[in-house]
Symmetry: D2
Subunit: 432 residues, 4 copies
């Protein structure tokens, strides 16, 4: 049936399992996470990962030949909605960023040798990888990238200054975006390179502390590293894909990534929303429970509407990507990026407000959600750039009226309308 919003029953069972598993097994980990060292953490995760593999939910984003499921974005989206409820869940499901995205890139653009050398150990969990694109002086505008890779004999020599390199301080290998042809068209200037972390000249300066991770990193789950590349020499075999295809590859990685992001945000939102509603049921002030206050009712109703909107829009974008390809879904994906980030903020914000001081304290996970949510508005490109991009794509479908008068200008249209109407009446009369 067309316009069918249901999930097939078999997959729904998997989702139900995942939801319960994440809630019962992963959420408790959150409260002890900060006390564990890397070894303890790995030991704690191992049996969880085993159970996920038994359910056939491991690394579901990968194509079947790499051990994934080949499900398409709608199904992945529904799973990521559940994983989003805990920042510790993706690692249990084999889809922890940036390793997940990097493995996709290597699967897509890597040579057989590159796959053997880097992809296989990555999938086996034997190595960790970083993604190194953002620069202090270049945000969303790719033409501003400064890092250069210059061909020198059989090598490339990379120089540049990156930051917000995910996992940079714990990675064994970095995927680095660098300009190979400064004179090419904007989106063909850069290429991607595989850079082993122990290559001389790779200097990880620090994990940049942020509002989300003020301690400078996620510790065991990686950080946003600042990295200086000084005369980093790598063999030309480490070029990923063809020269000039850096943005093309990045785009391929970012599209599905944004869908997963948005669905994970919905997981966070739902968790915050549940807290908001629970609080309303019993908190009492000024003569009634908060559930009876119209302001709180408005928060609940607006949150429900926004979450429903973001969810349907994201799944629609996923469906379009699955059925018509990434390019056709481009506008839809930009839409959900900024719309979804706004929903995440609003819902978490209301849940925090209803808890007052308690919500502001670290006794509840809401304040951490709020700090995380603030990042959503510029990660993967600031909302402003996505809005611009959406508008430009939409405007391609319109053209200026030939006479410079709006198509719907009534006085201009009136003559036509009169004639039309006269014809109708005439026809009617003729039939009488």
């Amino acid at each position: 049936m067309p316009w069918d919003f249901s999930t097939d029953p078999e997959y729904q069972e998997k989702l139900d399992w995942a939801r319960q598993f994440v809630r019962e097994e992963i959420w408790p980990l959150e409260t002890v996470f900060h006390e564990l060292d890397q070894d303890q953490l790995d030991r704690a995760y191992a049996p969880l990962q085993e159970r996920v593999k038994e359910q056939g939910l491991w690394a579901a984003h990968l194509p079947p030949e790499l051990g994934g499921q080949g499900w398409g974005q709608v199904k992945l989206g529904l799973l990521h909605e559940i994983l989003g409820t805990s920042m510790l869940a993706p690692n249990a499901f084999g889809c922890q960023a940036p390793d997940s995205g990097n493995s996709e890139i290597l699967a897509l653009a890597g040579t057989p040798e590159q796959k053997e050398r880097w992809l296989e150990p990555l999938l086996a969990g034997d190595i960790k990888s970083a993604f190194s694109m953002t620069e202090p002086g270049a945000g969303a505008d790719p033409t501003l990238l400064q890092t250069r890779a210059v061909r020198d004999g059989d090598d490339y020599v990379i120089n540049g200054h990156k930051w917000f390199t995910s996992n940079g301080s714990i990675a064994d290998v970095l995927i680095v975006m660098a300009v190979t042809d400064p004179d090419a068209r904007p989106h063909q200037r850069a290429s991607m390179f595989i850079v082993p972390a122990d290559t001389p000249g790779v200097n990880v300066l620090r994990d940049v502390p942020t509002m989300e991770h003020p301690e400078g990193g996620f510790g065991k789950l990686g950080g946003h590293s600042e990295v200086l590349y000084e005369d980093v020499r790598i063999p030309k075999e480490n070029l990923l894909g063809a020269e000039g295809t850096g943005f093309l590859i990045a785009q391929h990685r970012l599209g599905p990534g944004r869908i997963h992001h948005c669905m994970r945000w919905l997981g966070v939102s739902q968790r915050a929303f549940d807290m908001l509603c629970e609080r309303a049921t019993y908190r009492y002030a000024f003569g009634s429970t908060l559930a009876e206050k119209q302001t709180v009712q408005n928060w609940i109703a607006d949150s429900a509407a926004q979450m429903q909107a973001a969810r349907l829009m994201t799944l629609h974008a996923a469906w379009k990507m699955d059925t018509q390809g990434a390019s056709a879904a481009r506008t839809d994906i930009s839409l959900i990026k900024f719309f979804g980030a706004g929903v995440l903020h609003d819902v978490v914000d209301r849940a925090l407000q209803i808890h007052g001081s308690l919500g502001y304290s670290t006794d509840l996970p809401l304040e951490a959600m709020y700090r995380m949510a603030r990042g959503a508005r510029f990660y993967d490109g600031p909302d402003e750039v996505h809005r611009q991009s959406v508008a430009r794509q939409i405007l391609r479908g319109y053209e200026a009226p030939a006479d410079g008068v709006p198509s719907e200008h009534l006085p201009t249209r009136e003559a036509h309308a009169r004639q039309k109407f006269a014809e109708i009446l005439e026809m009617v009369t003729a039939n009488d």
Copy 2:
């Protein structure tokens, strides 16, 4: 395939036909509409209605046995989105309010005699009907209805003061909601009655002029009448359904009606959005076209996101109504009511603003759309009541934690988490 957002190709063809038909045949009527008398208008509509019937799109909301299509709300929704682009379109498609809703009510709750006497001529277009529920002193709260119907022998005698009775001044028959048992539970106090317009005591005071129709009515398409019922005596056979079922019947009428409303609003929004985008392409100020201004780009992107959201939410509500029944879709329908009204306003508002003085003038249809949009926020119940209703329904799914501590209170949860984690580590160690 589940989560399928496509329309079946055969129906898509019908929609494409309808879209072109409304644009080419109905839109021009708008500019001459005000000059036509009732007879001319009827003559102009006749051949249009014939073509709609040929396409099998006539009165599509009715069950097949009454000449409708029995399609369900998703398909109806998609059609109403197109009809919404012109307030003159529904009449060409046999689904002009309030006749459409009234015919549904009669089909649902009418006796065979009532159907023969009222429904058949209504469907044949031989009579017009009004819907008389709203009272000056009673807005959205049904317990405040004052109009009374008192049983007197074999008759009912109705007394009361209604307004915003759609079509009141041109109707042959009115469906009137009146309290039959003031002591019953709130939603069982009232009943519906069929009142011929020529019954003594039915006094139509005026068509209330509004922001949308300052001239006091839509003229040939009816108005919002103020009606005084003074000792209006009707036989008991004119009771519609059982005593006390007035709200039940009204609810049945309003549910699908809201879906159609929301989809028609999207039609209006899309028309305004097209004007907004067209204007951006050629209007020039301060060194560039408006398409290059980021404020305008934001308007376009936000409008696109909001419209996409409202569209998917409405079709989802329609799907839920089709597959799980009206009751299951209740929250969804309240959601789209207030969310959709907001979207309509925002999109029309932006389209008007980009046209400046021109948009504010009656040379473009935008100012009329803007006036119409303002009504959407309280028609069929003010947004505030729908928000409240949504919140109450959602809150039924939550309960207060037994110990009065939020379920996610980290200090409280920590003991459990530690034990959980100890077990995991133990298990892992045992397996070593």
Copy 3:
């Protein structure tokens, strides 16, 4: 005392008188206004104007030598707040647009001959004037003006297409802005001319119907006329001021005009706010009066805050204009334009919503206020242009840091801070 928010008691008395006078004498006129012909209206106004003159409140915007008061903008603002409560009030106080602004222009830039010929009869109420600047193709960007005035011997010949020419259809004389030097700098291209309405070639096409005045004009109080100037020949003596000073003069007129506008909007807002609050006290729904609903409480609190904000900002801008001159107050005036338009809309919108259908009907003045409010967002330049103007003026006060690093970049500042602190400690230690 500095930072003194009080009004001097003597003037407060005048304001109190004006408030009561407008409420008791002018408001009732609103309900019969549409039935009066021009003569009746003039007769009705005459005694009212007399009483205003007796109070010394007549034409208060004019300099003393022209019969005005020379009070400055703060006092004028406080008066206009009261006049704003009724669109019929300004005419009783001798400050009806566009005559009020035109008389200011003539007083400012007119030659003695021009003053005698046009200003005196204007002040005496013997003639009416129009202001003709806006063109269909030129909104807020002055460089887009197309109307041309070409010197030909001792005459100027004007050709062009204007609309939204206030009073165009009833004026005896029009002040017309036309380009005299297309090659000059943007703000020196145009000049102002005095054009008698009966000059051949002045063709008033229509009063443009708008959302506010759908009947095409304010009738007896003028309309927004569309005017075609075809080879309109006027003697060079009708040039107002020097060639190229058109925008300079317009700017002089618009500054105080915006302050008066904003204060009048506050008058409208206050009147709507009073209706909102009154309704809350007695309207009952769902178990309590609306005054007990938190949504309504939010509306009241937010409206009060916004009105207080707009009021203080406008009076502050007026004070700045009075004490530091129009140029110093430029940013402040742009601020209140868009901020005030938003406040007006929001307050009226809430007042309308709380009245539901009644507010939407013409039985209350709210729906007319709502339609009027929509115009405020683009009259005198769209809000978007004022925001841009404010930003540009503010940004002139900032410069890029020499090293391209934000002044507040903590790592960069740290060295300086350490040294500073070492010095402090050293100093402290030395003092020990």
Copy 4:
């Protein structure tokens, strides 16, 4: 001159000094603050405090007899706007919360003995004090306070559970609010007590970690402590003021406190705004600096308008408090609480967004400002309660119309208007 928005020149000089002093001497301290121990910090502050005293700006909130200035709230407000730019500034100016508020309370309600014992060492900086009012189960509703103080012979015995007790963990003495008469009227149930920190039964459980201070306290400047009072016995002489006056005293403390808060928020906002504007001047993306992007221009213009609004409203409230008393200013103070909190958030949020990842990192002070700003919406009572309070106070000025019809109902008013108008015409005619 009435409506005078200027500051007297002498005081302006002091403000200019303070602005430069805070910027040059205090801001640098921020970057080394976290490394200093208490002793170093005290030593660093000493010379700074000396300079403030020399300027006559020390403890300016106190009455002259206690070494303060007795300036009134307008002047204090202007000073706090400057102090707000750094959270380290108040301590240098002798007005660090909660000591500043506590000293006001002691000055207001303390007996001579209490003043000698507690106020004098507090003012001398020899001891630190805490303010202990908030309870986990009682937010803004005072009737929900659970902490009890029971008279027992010549003592009071206090039992209860408080949190967000400012300075609790470092204080020598705590001001504690406890219920003395549970059956009294809501605002007369509680009293304030002076509780030495070393009294048996005063158990400081922890400093509650919050979004603003995740490390659990401000360290050397105090924290939000959770305190358990278990059979805390204090002599009856430690009652502050009369029994039942707890809320009265608290209210006295909170009024001016809110004005100072709001002005400090404006200091923060201005600092963030400066960063926003500076960034716009040089950051380049997509073909121009950010200063040229209309979105950024909108941010600047809207921020400027909001800050101007909040500033004028706060100074107006201060002026009202100075001239008409705290009670008259009550609505004004509630208004600025929620309005100002919103402005603070919005400005900081935009400044952060324009800096993207950099703004989100701890390399700029913006992310800390953003976290602080989130607290402003519920500190000193959540915004929702202040809105409710404002609405209730305003609504006292309105009453229901006697006939249940809106005062402005046009049909109802029409008869009166016609009569009025007939009289006018008659009068005019008589005069003819």
